[in-house]
């Protein structure tokens, strides 16, 4: 599991804590994001782009507050990456 996988996992878990199973339903709408086991997220393809799309999906439906939650959740996993590899939406 790399930094992007961990970030996606943390983001979905954080959103799940607020909106429940709806968080997973929205995540599954992104082509390239699948659930292998209950609650294990797998990103297939350009992971940085998938992550950005996931965050945009949440922001679209749930607003700026959800974007802030995504940023907070992804902070730690993405802290190891150089800034240019961090999706634009998730940069501080």
């Amino acid at each position: 599991m790399d930094a992007y996988d961990k970030a996606a996992q943390q983001i979905i878990n954080a959103q799940k804590a607020i909106i429940g199973p709806l968080a997973i339903e929205e995540a599954k709408k992104i082509h390239g994001i699948t659930m292998q086991l209950p609650d294990i997220i797998v990103l297939s393809g350009n992971k940085a782009e998938l992550l950005e799309e996931l965050v945009r999906q949440y922001e679209l439906f749930f607003g700026k507050a959800s974007l802030e939650i995504c940023k907070e959740a992804a902070k730690q996993p993405l802290s190891q990456l150089p800034t240019d590899q961090v999706p634009q939406l998730l940069r501080s």
Partner: protein, 447 residues
């Protein structure tokens, strides 16, 4: 669906999300506070243990990186616990060594002492500034790994007094969560204050208890020693006075005989006082020994009456057993202690009954108990004084026209303790002044 309706729907969804977020954060806050409440209500009383549990809880559940708890002890501040997030585990030993390990004087110019002295929260720009004695390079590393942007010091105040301080590292938090984080910290400080205050109070009580136990032991030893040291020479004096009185009864003049008699009487009273004090000491230290056996109470009462015959005859007071049934009543009681009670009550009755009066004793069975009564035709007792009777050193107010009554004021207190130690009860009734008094005590009937 029209654009307007899509926008409405979107607005509602976002609003619902924000409300859910608020609920989630409040839940988190309440959960943490509830856990601290459990610590407060638990049987843990050790301050270090409680402070350690709280610090670890905050680090784990509130996702704080560094937490420290400090107590103020008069003019010194000491660390009672600290905790760090798992990402800073490698620096735990350094934290232990440098994070305010030594006690700090309240007059110190640093941030921690200032926050406590001035009873105000202080935000320190960074961890390095908070703990200047920390090796700078390590402090910077801790700051980076923990994403620590500031450190906050909150004085812990209970009953308007600062009992310590709470230090927590602060990190960059998104705007959406900022308000909740502040709310949590503010509530935490109050709860921590309650937890630590309770533990401090318990500590004080324990200490006071220890001191009281020690003082109590000293008191018992003192009373025992003094009583023995007083009793022995007093008994000697009484003995020699008795010998002198006996040998000079035919040769000594009346005046000197009276002096000897007074000296003998005074010695006797002093010995009684010492014995009573010893009894009281035994009662209060729980060392009153009762040897219960099957006792013929009727016979005991008759013996006591016979023993007090010389005194009652001298005072021209009739003392008798009212025993129409002629049944022997058996009780489960200590013979010596029960005799002490009867002698005490009859002696009291004789003291407070004028010449020509009477003291009547009786025993009767009532619901598995044998009740002994000592009824006199004496001064009587007012309702207000009835309530005071069984206290220590109680002596009722005396009328200037009546002769002074001697006594230690301990007889009834001791009698009550003896009766109750045997599972019985003692009580008194009186119709009022000059209407006589009746004392009752009950003892378990023997099978």
């Amino acid at each position: 669906m029209t654009l307007a309706k899509i926008e409405d729907f979107s607005h509602v969804t976002k609003s619902l999300y924000e409300q859910n977020l608020e609920l989630t954060e409040r839940n988190k806050t309440l959960s943490i506070l509830q856990r601290i409440n459990s610590i407060i209500l638990s049987s843990a009383t050790d301050i270090q243990q409680i402070a350690g549990q709280i610090a670890n809880l905050i680090v784990k559940e509130a996702d704080e990186k560094i937490v420290g708890l400090f107590l103020r002890d008069k003019s010194t501040i000491k660390r009672v616990s600290f905790a760090v997030a798992s990402s800073l585990d490698d620096f735990k030993n350094d934290m232990d060594a440098y994070f305010f390990k030594e006690n700090i004087p309240l007059s110190d110019s640093g941030f921690l002492a200032t926050a406590i002295r001035e009873k105000k929260s202080i935000i320190v720009p960074n961890f390095v500034s908070l703990v200047p004695q920390f090796p700078e390079e390590k402090a910077h590393t801790i700051q980076t790994i923990g994403e620590i942007t500031q450190a906050a010091i909150y004085p812990i105040i209970t009953h308007e007094e600062v009992i310590g301080a709470f230090i927590v590292s602060r990190r960059e938090v998104t705007d959406a969560l900022k308000a909740y984080t502040e709310d949590l910290i503010n509530r935490l400080v109050s709860m921590i204050g309650i937890a630590l205050n309770n533990a401090l109070l318990y500590q004080d009580i324990q200490q006071a208890n220890q001191e009281l136990k020690h003082l109590d032991k000293l008191k018992d030893e003192f009373v025992s020693l003094v009583s023995h040291e007083l009793r022995t020479p007093l008994t000697t004096v009484k003995g020699f006075l008795s010998v002198v009185m006996d040998e000079t009864k035919d040769t000594m003049d009346e005046e000197h005989k009276q002096m000897l008699k007074m000296a003998y009487g005074s010695t006797d009273r002093l010995i009684k006082l010492v014995n009573d004090m010893l009894d009281v000491s035994r009662i209060e230290s729980g060392k009153l020994t009762i040897n219960q056996t099957k006792l013929n109470l009727t016979d005991l009462v008759k013996n006591c009456i016979a023993e007090l015959q010389p005194v009652s005859t001298k005072q021209k007071i009739t003392v008798a057993l009212d025993d129409k049934s002629d049944i022997a009543h058996y009780v489960s009681a200590d013979p010596d202690k029960t005799k002490e009670v009867i002698i005490n009550l009859v002696n009291n009755a004789l003291k407070f009954t004028p010449q020509g009066g009477s003291v009547t004793l009786s025993c009767k069975e009532d619901q598995g108990m044998i009740i002994t009564t000592v009824k006199d035709t004496g001064r009587g007792i007012t309702p207000e004084d009835l309530t005071k009777l069984f206290g220590k050193f109680t002596r009722l107010e005396e009328n200037a026209n009546q002769p002074k009554i001697e006594g230690t004021g301990l007889g009834l207190y001791i009698s009550k303790a003896i009766v109750e130690a045997q599972g019985g009860r003692i009580w008194v009734t009186s119709e009022g002044r000059n209407m006589g008094t009746t004392f009752y005590f009950s003892l378990q009937k023997a099978n």
